[in-house]
Each structure stands twice: as structure tokens, then as C-alpha cells.
Symmetry: C2
Subunit: 329 residues, 2 copies
């Protein structure tokens, strides 16, 4: 690959290859696994970084400020880490309206306030017109683990149930609908902090692994788990919660909802005996009302994800290669 | 102020105002002081974040990859914190050459390797052509303090000597010369990690405060100290080390070297009895051969910085308001 393509930013196969190329250049790494979203750096501290370039900057259900905090905080939450500090870097175009910037900062601050996250450090760069499209935010979240052992795909075992904490694809569908000016009443991004709900299942002994299904969606997370741990995963299409509005947008725009970005939906693997308990605890939270058991880790077709379709067949879910929707987050 | 101007990104007065506006929106902050470059977050851990948008991406003496590590690592080093981890976020334009990206990653990795910094987490976003000019890097550095008390401007006392660890303005002059295609043989950015030199003066009891003179240069740091601590500072123009090539570029382009960015120069305040010892220790390092005592904290003209000029007068050094050179770092 000579030149970078949008597919390298999709969160799918090409992103994985690019990240491997880049990280291989660095001799020392703190990560336990390249494929997890945050790294432990000692004394229980974990850190994660994400850049947000979403367009439009305000979308149904959120804006870039809210997204920037949720995105990084959720990367910690799914590892059992309480988000405590945020460092925020802003790159902004000359001529940008200060009032609009303040709007996003207020959204960001509101999420921080809800979660008890402190602003730790910041940076602001104003660049000449045309050097950046509006505003990009980068957030680095830091927190301390509330668990003895970090959650992660290495814990996955055949038989584990796979849950989603809510219906899938709402963020991607909301951005897609905004971008293509589709009327989609009731459709909203799921952008929200996961910590308040996920913290309530952390003491389940059978909890194995959690991931927020951001870029690349649920399908990509399942592929990363199957390939990363060399296990099989089977999902049942009929059990995957999808809102009608999301399904409609997918129909119109030709998106596969399995690969649509979520910003407030976690995939959760848990031992079979604790699936029901996990679901009950999650559903007590408004943001997890649609939580569901959607599949299982299996001992066959290692490294592959299968989707049992509603008409009875099974199709392979592969990691996406291209990019459906750039600047989704 | 309705719209943001390049001056808001200068590192000077407008940047200070903008940062105050933004940080005031966040109810909880970890910072001991808004005006220091890194924040302590418990157990001796400190964190800092910076975005790098420099153009040209390769300049005499460095490139954006090297700069991105040095910039964040130096923000820790001046607080007595050994940089240990880097999180790296990349925003890159569709069509960017992979080989060029790898070049910058190699520069970044080399500095990490020299300092024993581990890559902790990363993020890569590829955006459509035109959404970003080439590549922007954001780095978040984390480390642990090697001191009992953090260094900072609150420690400054009348009588303290002000040192610079090397000659000033080399980064700004190198970027300026590149940008305007000036021939400037021998002129190189001072972009370098400060930790290897600064760690050797950390055990001096008289060490009060250190700051790397990045955006806004030495002049801005002195103003921040004078205003932030409400003390007077006096510098002697003739004692401030400036390389001939830097002075020439300033003459041609009309820059004031006091406000030119440095990327490997620290301003250091130390008690009068330990000035000489500090200088001797610093000068043992190749990157600090030009270290010099340039001024003193005084008990008069509180909040103001004076520069005793070579022809005998004293002029007030104020914080810059506009922007001499956007995208300097």
C-alpha cells in the first residue's frame, strides 16, 4: 500500500494492518494486547487516546464535544476502569465561531461532570483556514482499574454468551442520515457514557471481556475477538436488537448494520451461568433497556464469526475492508 | 471575540484568554495551576497533551514525529517528571504516502527508545482529502514525578536567578526560514528531549521552576511567571544566548527572538547560591552547552517583565497578542 485510503481509517481490516505497521516501529509498548483499546501503565492506571473528526459536528443525539468524552471514557469502561481524568486537545480552524466551540465544550463538560471526570490538561491549536475542516478534538482518558484482573479477549472461552448492552448501529445510522439529509424521525445516536451501567456487572465472576462497538461496529469487534483469541463466534441475526429507524436507514443507504458504528453499545462476553444475571443488571439502566443475548463463543470454525440468518442459513461475518462512512467519529 | 483568530493559537495573550474561557466551562480540574503545562493526577503521576500541526513537516533539525514526542515529553521533564508513556493519535489525509508516515513514526520511535518511553495507546483516523492538511499528531505523555514537591511558578522568589538551558529561538527561526525559503546555513531547530539534561539538576534544593519555551518563546514564559506569581522579572538582553543564524533570520523576517518558539530550551529559576552549580551541571550536556544566566526575579514592578537592553535602557516585555508564525509546532 503506497498511499493511505479512507479504508485505513475504517476501523476494519486495513486499519488493523496500518496499526500493526505503525506499532511495529516502536520497540517498547505498554499494551498487553494490540487489539484492546486501552493500555495499563502500572498501579492499576489505564490510558486511552482517540481523535474525533465527526461531521456533522452536531447530530441527532449528540455533538463532537459529547462524543469526544464518551468515546475515550467508554474505552476505559469496557476494561473495568473508572474514567477519572481527561486530557483534551483541540485543533480548530481560524475563523471558527467561539460560541460554537463553547457549545461543544459545554457538552463535553456536562459528561465529565456526570461521571466525575476531571479535566487534567489541554492544548489548543488554531490553524489557518483550510488546514483543518472546522474542529478536531483528541481526548486521552485515564483511570484506575476496579478489578484485580483486566477484562479482555484473552479471557474468552467456548460456551461464553455474547451480549450487547443495547441496540446496534444507532450512531452510524444517525450520522449517515444527517449526512445524506434523510428524514429519520426518532433516530438518535446512542452516544452515551457506558460506565454507569457497566460498573454494575464488574463483580460478576463470569465476566470475560467487553468492548465498545465504535468504528467498524459489532461485526468488527466480533471478528477481532474471534481472530485475536482464535475462537469461533456464532451470532443469531434475529436476536440482535436493531431499531426500526436504523434498519430503514440501512435499507436506504445500503449499509450493513453489523458494521455501523455505535457510541454507547458494548459487546459483553460472560459465562453461560451468569448471562441472565448480567442482562438483568444491565436492563435496570435506561441506556441498556434493549440489552440482549445475541450469540455464543463456540469451539468450532476457529477465528471465524458466523451469523445464523433469519431464513436459517449461516453466513461468515468478515472484517470490513473499505470504508462505509468516513468521519463517523 | 466572535471568531477565533490565529492569535488564539499563538501561545500568547489570546491563547491564555481562550484557555481560561474553555477551562472555566469544566467544573472539575486536576491542575494545580492553569498556567503549568502538565497536571498531577495522584500517586506522583503527571499527564500532558499536545497537538502538532507543524509545517513543513520535515524541517532542519527534526520532523513532526520527533517534535510530537519531544514536545509532550518536555512538558513533563520541566516539572521533574520522567516521561514513561506516550499515547499517540494520528489524523491523516486520504492519499498520504505511507512511507512518509513511517518516516515520522521512525523519528518518534527513536526518541521514545532513547528516553525509554513506552507506546501506551494509539488512534489513527484517515479523513477525506482536504479535511486536514497532511498529518496532525497529538501526543499525551504520562510519567511519574521524581520529586517530593512539584516544580512550578508558585515556588518563585525574589532573588532567584533565571537561566536558559540553551540559546533561544532556534525552532521558530528554522521553521520561519523553511517557510520563507531563506538560505540559513547551520540553522537547525533545537527540537530535542530535555529530560537527560534536566534530570541532573532535580536534586538541587534551590531549584524553583522550569518551563520549556515552546509557542510564544522565552518572552511569553517570563510573562506567565511574572503575572502568574505576581513577581517582577528582569532579563539582560546581552546575556541571552542567540545564535547568529537565528538573529539573521529575525532581522530578515522581522521576528522578535524573545517570542520565537524553542523546542529544546528550558527557562529555569534557581536560588542565587545554586545558579553556578546548575549551570555547570547543565553545560556537561551537549544540548546545554550554551546554557546561561540571563536574569533575575525582582521585588519591584510586580507582574511585569523588564529587558535591560544592550544600549542601557529597560523595556517592558509583554505577552504577544497576535501570531508571528502559525503552525510552528
Amino acid at each position: 500500500m503506497g498511499k493511505l485510503t479512507l479504508g485505513h481509517g475504517s476501523g476494519g481490516r486495513l486499519t488493523q494492518e496500518l496499526i500493526t505497521e505503525i506499532t511495529n516501529i516502536f520497540p517498547d509498548k505498554a499494551k498487553l494486547s494490540e487489539l484492546e483499546d486501552c493500555a495499563f501503565i502500572g498501579n492499576g492506571y489505564a490510558v486511552t487516546i482517540d481523535c474525533f473528526t465527526v461531521t456533522p459536528r452536531t447530530f441527532p443525539g449528540g455533538d463532537i464535544g459529547e462524543l469526544a468524552i464518551c468515546g475515550s471514557a467508554n474505552d476505559l469502561a469496557v476494561r473495568g476502569v473508572r474514567p477519572e481524568f481527561i486530557s483534551l486537545s483541540i485543533v480548530i480552524e481560524e475563523g471558527f465561531e467561539l460560541e460554537e466551540l463553547k457549545l461543544y465544550m459545554k457538552s463535553a463538560a456536562a459528561i465529565c461532570s456526570d461521571l466525575g471526570i476531571k479535566l487534567a490538561s489541554g492544548d489548543t491549536k488554531v490553524v489557518p483556514m483550510g488546514a483543518v475542516d472546522g474542529i478536531f478534538l483528541t481526548t486521552c482518558a485515564i483511570g484506575r482499574s476496579e478489578l484485580n484482573l483486566p477484562l479482555g479477549m484473552t479471557n474468552l472461552q467456548p460456551g461464553d454468551g455474547i451480549l450487547v448492552s443495547t441496540s446496534i448501529g444507532r450512531h452510524g445510522a444517525a450520522i449517515g442520515a444527517s449526512r445524506f439529509e434523510l428524514e429519520a424521525e426518532g433516530l438518535k445516536s446512542d452516544c452515551t457514557p457506558l460506565w454507569p451501567a457497566l460498573k454494575d456487572i464488574l463483580d460478576l465472576e463470569g465476566l470475560r471481556s467487553m468492548r465498545d462497538c465504535t468504528r467498524g461496529g459489532l461485526g468488527t469487534v466480533m471478528c477481532e475477538w474471534a481472530e485475536g483469541r482464535n475462537i469461533g463466534i456464532e451470532m443469531e441475526e434475529a436476536k440482535i436488537p436493531i431499531q426500526e429507524e436504523v434498519a430503514s436507514v440501512c435499507d436506504i443507504l445500503g449499509f450493513d448494520p453489523l458494521y455501523l458504528a455505535c457510541e454507547g453499545c458494548a459487546a459483553i462476553a460472560v459465562s453461560p451461568d451468569q448471562e441472565e444475571e448480567a442482562l438483568q443488571r444491565l436492563r435496570k439502566h435506561e441506556i441498556c433497556k434493549e440489552a440482549a443475548l445475541i450469540g455464543r463463543v463456540v469451539d468450532s470454525h476457529k477465528g471465524l464469526v458466523g451469523l445464523r440468518t433469519s431464513i436459517g442459513g449461516m453466513r461468515v461475518v468478515d472484517m470490513p475492508v473499505g470504508e462505509m462512512l468516513p468521519r463517523i467519529c
